[in-house]
């Protein structure tokens, strides 16, 4: 009765986004084709550009194919809170496009290529494609759980664990989209951004990173992070991967 969740034909060249949706609900060839058809255009945004600006209206979704970006908010006191790191397979304009004016800003960290779909078109597609709607619901719940984890991080985890937890989470997400090795990865973020993500100052992030090195849990070379002791790190951070989503029987049935 239990079914393997990730039965995806390896031959097929799927986008990270489609790959991700497949985890949540099985999409037919037609469903995927419909999604592709809704894409209005594919574009590349250069490094360090703003894609979405807080306060402005957006009615577009950008499905990221490659590259990295940050979703953040600037406060009146000059501080910045980074809400999330956007990786391939993520959607820019979520949740911003669902509100009158964008709640947050998004800026690219690297060149980003993305597929643009107007929100209305996307919602219409969801209306016509129940399994896509279900998959999207699942996708958003997943996002919600990630945000919840972030709240716990920032609210109650001590700085060292916070940094450790963040490294593990980033790695597992990068791994899922094929942007990381088994136990090392290229970190596309400055320590200042990590600080703004975790609610710490940049110098303190630096100290915590060094402490993790001293305790032989990680090693760093330029921007490459290697987990010297993945198990120890997981133990320290009490990291539990979010990914293993469970699929109820009903979700696989076709409409």
């Amino acid at each position: 009765m239990a079914v393997a969740v990730r039965l995806i034909r390896p031959a097929e060249e799927s986008s990270p986004f489609v790959l991700r949706l497949q985890q949540y609900a099985s999409l037919s060839e037609a469903d995927i084709a419909g999604l592709q058809a809704a894409v209005e255009r594919e574009l590349t945004i250069r490094k360090k550009r703003d894609v979405v600006l807080e306060g402005y209206e957006t009615r577009k979704l950008h499905i990221v194919k490659s590259g990295f970006a940050t979703r953040y908010k600037l406060l009146a006191n000059g501080k910045r809170q980074v809400l999330s790191i956007i990786l391939p397979g993520d959607i820019i304009g979520m949740p911003s496009a669902f509100f009158r004016s964008s709640l947050y800003s998004v800026a690219t960290l690297s060149d980003v290529t993305a597929q643009m779909i107007p929100l209305i078109k996307f919602l219409d597609l969801c209306r016509r494609t129940p399994s896509l709607a279900i998959a999207m619901l699942w996708y958003t719940e997943h996002e919600l759980a990630a945000y919840a984890d972030h709240i716990v991080d920032v609210g109650r985890r001590p700085p060292l664990e916070r940094v450790a937890h963040f490294l593990l989470e980033l790695h597992s997400r990068l791994l899922a989209v094929g942007c990381a090795a088994e136990s090392s990865f290229e970190m596309p973020l400055s320590q200042e951004i990590i600080g703004d993500l975790l609610g710490l100052s940049a110098p303190h992030v630096n100290r915590m990173l060094h402490q993790l090195k001293e305790e032989n849990l990680i090693s760093m070379d330029h921007r490459r992070v290697t987990f010297a002791d993945p198990e120890g790190l997981r133990l320290l951070a009490r990291f539990e991967p979010l990914s293993p989503t469970s699929l109820p029987a009903g979700a696989r049935r076709s409409a």
Copy 2:
């Protein structure tokens, strides 16, 4: 062309949940009837009970009709992070029911009456009712934005603003479900819980609350909070209500 969003017949006795969904997409009588039909049973949970326990599997959604609860996580170091306050119209089991085992715990703060729907049944209903699926997507995006706000609160807002922001947010949510007066409300939370919500210690919450009183922004009598200077409070906290959701034209069209 612009349509009033909350055109709801006042005569009709709608649940806070349905009222909320109506904001996101127009549901037909049949849609609502279908939702009611999916309810397996209505139940009342007594004060201070656990509804969901972290680590256990849940496959049920509980739509809250009345009462309050907290969604929280216990850390290994004995600390607790409260993720959100659950009010009437909210769903218990979200996002927990979407994962193999529940990510968080939920405990009631007061007696809670709720309508139980098995997740599978609910998803099947979404599959058959596109407008419900769309409304739910919207609902979850809204939840996501609330969590994002929470991250900003805990990560970068100074304690005084944090508490002020929290009071305003709670009030506006209570107001939306008819559990608050224009500028005062009964606060169902101990200072310890507020602390665990905002990442502060209980004594410090106490101090901040007193400071707000001293600055004549609020007044408190037992558990009743009154906004003495709502505008000043909003200014201090830079509070921007999340509620005004904008409805794209497409969302109102029927399938």
